[in-house]
Amino acid sequence: MDTHAALYRQGQARLDMLRQLNSRDGQSLTSKMKQHDISRRDFIKWSASVTAMLALPLPFSTLVAQAAELADRVPLIWLHMAECTGCSESLIRTDTPNLDSLIFDHISLEYHETLMAASGWQAEENLEHAMEAYKGQYLLAVEGAVPTANNGAYLTIGCKGHTGLEIIKHAAEGAAAIISVGTCAAFGGVQAASPNPTGAKGVHEVVDKTVINLGGCPPSEKNIVGTLMYFIMFGKLPALDMFNRPKWAYGARVHDNCERRGRFDAGEFVEEFGDQGAKDGYCLYKLGCKGPYTYNNCPTERFNHHTSWPVLAGHGCMGCSEPNFWDDMADFEKPLGRQLLHGFDATADTVGAVILGATAVGIGAHAVTSIFAKPLED
């Protein structure tokens, strides 16, 4: 708990600092909430749920609430590199009506090509203005990988024809923090899959600053918004895993929280799509589910207002929040078995190997159990 207390004090200090900055419009959140018909009780409830989602103890919900009130002072620049705009589409699906849009009213969205009214020269002016006026203060979110082959010629943006590589390096210099939104910005993504014809790379490979990686194709809107909230609350990066993904979202294996885990443990597998096991919700491991190798909160948070997630829809996890998953996890309808993952040796005491081992033992154990179950009953 000592670390929690220290973290809480840090958060408090950060908010005190933010509070001293000038309010954007002099209007309190309380009055804005009234305007949008959101009760204080709803707001506290929301704060508590964000706190739970970030895996923080409940007392932190007061900090979350205070951070929401101050969020309007954080300028956000969102850049698009080699991408499909799926991450922006995920962002616009934020699933807490009214309140989430209020939160975004409070972040100053300085540049976002999918949402901004200005185009061309005027759009470029907005970007240059924001990078200058908020130097050292802005949050930089990046969607998409950075093509580096041929001096970055496979992507140019803007009237001046700058490459994506040049723009990212320049924008990274003045950023208070950098968030790679989605597997492309984090690890290169689909365009970096073999043979990676454009030399596509994750942002962290081309800038010399710490980058938060939000894996997922796309990451859920909760993982995007939650990470922004953490930065605003504490003014620092959240606890990160070995791939710089926030632990609060990517700390648990998909397999461990999967609703079909009981089926796995019981050795009940879908053998082919459309069989009786598929109708009964059996485990999808044998049809290539990569849940045992994938770290994300999909089973607990799901997508689109908790509507569903791939395993609920009867399809295995494809491992989309992991580095190089397009190569390492393919074929997507076949189990991985004992292949190496992330270049680790299967015998080493590493995450990948531990997972592989556990899975193999798990399946072995089920086989053994089912062999002995019958005689024991007799």
């Binding site: 419009d25 209007q27 305007q35 949008h36 499909c84 705009t85 799926g86 991450c87 589409e89 995920s90 616009i92 699906r93 934020t94 009506p97 849009s101 009213d105 100053s108 300085e110 090509e113 999918t114 949402l115 009214a117 200005a118 185009s119 061309g120 005027q122 907005n126 093509p147 041929n150 496979y154 992507l155 943006i157 803007g158 009237c159 024809g161 689909v190 365009q191 899959a193 043979p195 990676n196 014809p197 454009t198 796309p218 799509f273 459309g274 598929a278 109708k279 689109n304 207002h305 509507t307 569903s308 395993v311 609920l312 829809a313 009867g314 399809h315 393919a330 074929d331 997507f332 309808e333």
Partner: protein, 410 residues
């Protein structure tokens, strides 16, 4: 002396687009070029992979029209293997396509294209009472356009503008004479812009019910659809139907009304009166009604000849790279297609913003190949779908076209 104007980035689209135009001394456009400035190499990456994985990979071509490329990638493999899928799988794919269709049209109309014809700042000077009356002219039950709704929206945006930090609305073209709406009309659409943010979430949930998530659903496989448990659940079907009703309600009481209002305001624009430039249209079968029966028919219309509509001949489709940054000997059918990058870069020249790198219009200037049908460019999409089905005399369409006031289409 002609002048060159460069617009890059074109915003509120998916992807990276650059447009350059040449204007004469009267500022009339005489030449125009469009260029995609990003290459990712998906065709190259696909080679050597399992055909079962193709759908998932090509889905990542676009996260806005997510699912479309997924379905086509899966169905391409099914066609190649001669796989027949169960009728229920066809219906589920159609329900997912319906969900995407509803989502994508709303987002495009309001959140992407909308800011080109809705003047946000003008809406601040509207009289909400007058605007509420105006809204009743286009539907007898407007949604989010009562006097109180409109006043609340106006106050909210006024507060936002008063901060002086306009965020995504900054440095735009407010007040330009190409905005044709009155302040009251702008306020109505602004209110629908905000309401549509809620409604598109519901439409996205429709796709997620059978797709697992949106964007980038994950429930199609070669041979069918995996979300069999959702399909067999009466509660899940009802959930889809309920959300469908919510989105449909918005379409009738806001979206359609706004289109009629916009058609009246923008009907005399040269760009509208000038008609379409390319008179060739192509559409494919879509939305299964029964086994082998579709709401939209496939077909090809050349030179605007509706009576001469023909079936699609896939052999006539070719991709041309004369002006694209690829090497190839002439136009290629996709079966024989190659994707070999051949980047030649920009050409420095004078523009209205001074010296800039510009497109080499006579040489290569884009990462997008030019698809051709029998050597001709084609328009595809909503207008093509309607025209082809109309030309094929689909009864439901002929009836609904007859109900519309002719001036809307002139």
């Amino acid at each position: 002396m002609s002048k060159r104007v460069v617009i890059d980035p074109i915003t509120r689209i998916e992807g990276h687009l650059r447009v350059e135009v040449e204007v004469d001394e009267n500022n009339v456009i005489t030449k125009a070029w469009s260029s995609s400035t990003l290459w990712r190499g998906i065709e190259v990456i696909l080679k050597g992979r399992s055909p079962m994985d193709v759908g998932l990979i090509v889905q990542r071509i676009c996260g806005v029209c997510t699912y479309s490329h997924y379905r086509c990638g899966i169905e391409a493999v099914e066609n190649a293997l001669g796989t027949k899928i169960p009728l229920n799988a066809k219906f589920l794919r159609s329900l997912m396509q319906t969900s995407l269709y509803m989502h994508d049209h709303i987002v495009h109309f309001y959140h992407l294209h909308g800011l080109d014809w809705v003047d946000i700042i003008s809406a601040l000077s509207a009289d909400p009472a007058v605007a509420a009356q105006e809204a009743l002219q286009y539907t007898d039950k407007p949604i989010a356009a009562g006097e109180g709704d409109l006043r609340a929206v106006q106050e909210r945006i006024k507060g936002f503008v008063a901060t002086g930090k306009l965020g995504p609305f900054a440095n735009a073209y407010w007040g330009n004479s190409t905005y044709k709406f009155t302040p009251e009309q702008n306020l109505i659409v602004l209110s629908h812009y905000l309401k549509a943010l809620e409604v598109q979430r519901v439409a996205a949930e429709m796709l997620a019910i059978f797709g697992g998530k949106s964007p980038h659903p994950q429930s199609l496989v070669v041979g069918g659809v995996t979300s069999v448990r959702d399909m067999l659940s009466p509660a899940r079907l009802q959930e889809w139907k309920q959300k469908h009703a919510i989105v449909t309600d918005f379409i009738h009481r806001a979206y359609k009304a706004d289109i009629i209002m916009a058609a009246a305001a923008f009907g005399n624009e040269p760009s509208v009166l000038g008609g379409v430039n390319v008179m060739n249209f192509m559409a494919t079968n879509d939305f299964v009604l029964a086994d082998g029966e579709y709401m939209f028919d496939q077909g090809v219309i050349m030179n605007g000849d509706l009576a001469g509509v023909t079936d699609i001949d896939p052999d006539l489709i070719k991709e041309d790279v004369t002006h694209a940054w690829y090497k190839a000997d002439g136009a290629q059918h996709p079966y024989d297609g190659t994707t070999i990058p051949d980047y030649t870069g920009f050409v420095e020249r004078d523009t209205v913003y001074g010296k800039l790198p510009t497109l080499d219009g006579d040489g290569k200037y884009s990462w997008v190949k030019s698809p051709r049908y029998d050597g001709e460019p084609m328009e595809v999409g909503p207008l093509a779908c309607l025209l082809v089905s109309y030309a094929k005399a689909r009864l439901w369409l002929t009836r609904s076209m007859a109900c519309l006031k002719p001036q809307v289409y002139r």
